[in-house]
């Protein structure tokens, strides 16, 4: 190429590049913070996989009203609960179509067979598709579904009956969870089974959801097309997930216009000061970050020592540094968005009293281990701040950072003295915060990271699960929160706000209370 031609080419490319990053109207790009583990969503339990594989592709039996925790009809139009609370009869919606793709064309509408397939496949070990999940179904097991569900049976093509072993009030909310009640196409599964390619359910998914799966470039891009045959209002845009685990890269892509929506995190919110093209959307996910002190270990078994650790913490600076101020110091373990949250419980910093309590508990100066995940720098900062806070009252702490999976495993086994964790609500029900994390059963099973087993607390939880009366349940949960707080079963830190950068051309984006994204109503100008 001659020098002149080269120069012309360079000029042309730079000019056209100013249009780079401008999305064609009708496509919304989301910079997600990780790659999904797979598209067979019931096999997995992370928010990232749920965002990519659950909400866009599948519908659940019941749904939450977008952005809230109010249960409303999903693939089941109505539901009846028997008087004793153990039999749920679901009346299914007519005229719902499964996705049509190059690899599957449905010949019938959604009906009870699909529900049976979806639920029995997880619950029944002898089901032909059960073994596709090499790691099992951790969510199902974690919510104790195998012990809870007695049977799932078909009454007729549009009616399904689920029988439980005991009354469980949170069950209605459970039916809105994508990792529990996502409905798959039994017909597609049969087609794959006959071809001997059942694993394809994980790489080429079929659902009834608002978006249809188009392609996945591993660790890079997921492409979805709007489902024009959706039973509810079809989306007006196609969807692209650009997988960008690095927070600073997400910010840069947002600014460059490569992504229209992305989670930026409170501590990075300042990066958009004065940028007129990006709006910051703040939402209140149902989450609490907390410390799990191992109450089976020395010193930590004394509730005075635990309290000392709690009141030594400078939550104000913690919130400022770790979340950029986009968080609220937490009092009760239950976050403010969940009903029965007790707002009267608060922790105020008191260094002097903390020092006294430390002395009273007989702490001898030995070093405690403090586990946390190494995923992002904001957590690292948090551990260093806490380390500093506790040094001030004479408590020595050694930080050990590790990957998330290893953190769960080791804290589950109780190897830690202290651990920095956070819990996201799965279904908006208060029980979901307490039972998996603080019950005596969970202490055995590894879910109760503080190994704190208190019989009175356990009894309260059981009573609340057994009654469907919301008012009564509310009263019980308030008592439970107060007991937990008084005993310092765990040390709460903050309820963070999710901060997302949304390009101002985007309308209708909804952040779910569970930390996820809902693109069903999105429009791009």
């Amino acid at each position: 190429m001659s020098a002149l031609a080269l120069r012309r080419w360079l000029v042309a490319s730079t000019i056209s590049c100013t249009l780079c990053g401008v999305q064609a109207a009708g496509v919304v790009t989301f910079c997600s913070d990780g790659a999904p583990e797979g598209f067979d969503v019931v096999q997995y339990e992370t928010v990232i996989t749920n965002d990519a594989s659950g909400i866009p592709l599948y519908d659940t039996l019941l749904q939450m009203k977008p952005g809230t925790t109010t249960v409303e009809p999903g693939l089941a139009e109505r539901w009846d609960i028997s008087a004793d609370g153990t039999v749920y009869t679901l009346h299914l919606r007519k005229g719902v179509k499964f996705h049509t793709t190059p690899w599957f064309k449905p010949t019938r509408d959604f009906n009870a067979d699909d529900v049976l397939w979806s639920l029995n496949r997880i619950n029944d070990k002898s089901h032909p598709a059960h073994g596709v999940a090499k790691n099992g179904y951790p969510y199902w097991a974690g919510m104790s579904m195998p012990e809870l569900i007695k049977s799932v049976s078909k009454v007729d093509d549009q009616t399904v009956r689920i029988t439980l072993t005991k009354p469980e009030s949170p069950f209605v909310a459970d039916l809105t969870m994508t990792s529990i009640a996502s409905i798959y196409s039994a017909e597609y599964a049969d087609q794959l089974l006959k071809a001997g390619k059942l694993e394809q359910i994980n790489t080429q998914p079929i659902g009834t959801g608002p978006f249809v799966f188009k392609s996945y470039q591993k660790d890079a891009v997921i492409r979805y097309a709007a489902n024009t045959a959706y039973w509810n209002t079809p989306p007006k845009v196609d969807l692209i997930f650009a997988i960008t685990p690095d927070p600073s890269v997400r910010i840069q892509r947002l600014k460059a216009g490569e992504c229209l929506v992305s989670l930026v995190g409170g501590d990075n919110a300042r990066a958009f000061d004065g940028d007129a093209r990006i709006n910051l959307l703040r939402s209140k996910p149902l989450t609490t970050s907390y410390l799990a002190p191992n109450s089976k270990h020395r010193f930590l078994s004394d509730k005075r020592f635990r309290e000392a650790l709690s009141i030594a913490i400078d939550r104000k600076t913690f919130v400022q540094s770790v979340y950029g101020g986009e968080a609220v110091p937490a009092g009760s373990f239950l976050p403010p968005g969940i009903w029965s949250h007790d707002a009267t419980l608060k922790t105020t910093q008191d260094i002097e009293r903390a020092k006294q309590l430390v002395k009273a508990s007989g702490y001898d100066g030995s070093e405690l281990t403090f586990f946390a995940t190494a995923r992002t720098s904001d957590i690292k900062r948090g551990t260093e701040l806490l380390q500093g806070d506790w040094a001030r009252i004479g408590v020595k702490v050694r930080v050990q950072l590790m990957e998330l999976g290893e953190l769960y495993k080791r804290t589950g086994k109780g190897e830690h003295d202290l651990a920095l964790l956070s819990w996201f609500s799965d279904n908006g029900d208060p029980d979901n915060f307490f039972t998996p994390n603080l019950s005596c059963a969970a202490a055995e099973g590894g879910g109760n990271k503080s190994q704190w087993c208190n019989k009175a607390f356990d009894d309260l939880l059981a009573a609340a699960r057994a009654t469907p009366d919301l008012k009564k349940r509310s009263e019980i949960y308030v008592k439970a929160q107060q007991l937990l707080f008084a005993e310092t079963g765990l040390i709460t830190l903050a309820n963070k706000l999710d901060v997302r950068g949304v390009n101002k051309r985007v309308r209708g984006y909804v952040a779910t209370p569970f930390g996820g994204s809902d693109f069903r109503a999105v429009q791009v100008d």
Partner: protein
């Protein structure tokens, strides 16, 4: 010649077996139960635990496990990822072209610029240019390359977007998102060209620039220094002085006679650089979110995804051995003394 090839191949076999031992033992050296890792934050059913242990063959005697591992590896069955349940070999195949594309571009830049710089420095020995080239190359391999990458991102993407947006380079990924390119070969440049879409090729190229420069910096420095030494050595040789005395023009002397001979050790070094490239790819891919095998391995190690770690180590090491073998053979073809040595 044939004998030499056989002898070299024979040397490779024990090394390869050693590598399989290394990869295999990894999963057993790490403290704790690998199956427990899969439990996540909720409890792991003990019956299920035993079932998985059995399915992965972790309950059989060690030597039996190793034997089965060796056999399966020969058939490219490297197990499945604990996280995605996809076959390790097929995950590797999906991600490998990205790393290869990046490495080839990095090597290309390193070779072209390195050779040029080395030759110029050798010809103008002792001059400012010489010292400059040597100084810059020494700086090049004294920098932490992840820092160098961050600096480049800072200047060429972030700050450039404020100063001269048309010249700003993309921050991450292989291709602008508005292009949906069919992955025919896995090489984005080729696929973009084949797709015929307007601006796709340019986009792929602009995404390659920064990562390739970062990855190619250390090889560039090595090649520049190596070329310079080699050229200096050759330029002193008698036959070069003879050529000069005979009246051949200096350019002809340099390029026809000297360079050809000076290139030989440089080619050897290029072969050895494969290891450096694969190692450097880990850091470069992390910084630029480049979906290749370097990033894949790092993620797998932090997630304790052992089948991927084992498979990745095995494949990487085998690749390095194969490339070194080829380079050795090529060197022997070029230099008969080696063939008949010992």
């Amino acid at each position: 010649m044939f004998g030499f090839i056989l002898k070299r191949l024979a040397l490779v076999v024990p090394t390869f077996i050693g590598i399989t031992l290394l990869a295999f033992s990894l999963i057993h050296l790490i403290p704790g139960d690998p199956v427990q890792v899969m439990a996540g934050e909720r409890r792991l059913d003990p019956a299920f635990h035993a079932e998985v242990l059995h399915r992965l063959g972790l309950d059989r005697p060690l030597w039996e496990q190793y034997g089965s591992y060796l056999w399966k590896s020969m058939h490219l069955d490297l197990g499945e990822s604990f996280v995605t349940h996809e076959a390790v070999w097929s995950e590797f195949l999906k991600l490998f072209p990205a790393t290869v594309e990046l490495s080839i571009c990095a090597l290309f830049i390193a070779t072209v610029v390195g050779l040029l710089a080395g030759v110029l420095a050798a010809i103008k020995r002792g001059s400012v240019l010489d010292h400059g080239v040597m100084g810059l190359s020494l700086t090049g391999f004294s920098m932490p390359i992840f820092w160098w990458g961050l600096l480049l991102i800072m200047f060429c993407s972030v700050n450039m977007r404020e100063w001269a947006p048309a010249w700003a380079l993309p921050v991450s990924g292989r291709m602008a998102l508005e292009f949906d390119i069919a992955p025919r070969t896995g090489f984005m440049l080729i696929d973009a060209w084949l797709s015929g879409e307007e601006g796709a090729f340019r986009s792929a190229l602009s995404h390659l620039v920064l990562p390739a420069i970062v990855l190619g910096t250390v090889p560039l420095a090595v090649i520049a220094r190596m070329t310079r030494s080699s050229m200096l050595e050759v330029l002193r040789e008698d036959y070069v002085r003879t050529a000069k005395a005979k009246g051949l023009s200096p350019t002809r002397v340099v390029f026809v006679h000297a360079l050809r001979n000076a290139l030989v050790p440089v080619i050897t070094v290029i072969g050895l650089l494969v290891g450096t490239l694969l190692g450097g790819a880990v850091l470069t891919e992390t910084i630029f979110s480049w979906p290749g095998i370097g990033k894949w391995l790092i993620d797998a190690i932090s997630r304790r995804d052992y089948p991927v770690v084992q498979g990745g180590i095995l494949i990487t090491a085998t690749l390095v051995i194969v490339v070194n073998l080829l380079v050795d053979l090529m060197y022997a073809v070029v230099n008969p003394r080696i063939r008949h040595a010992k």
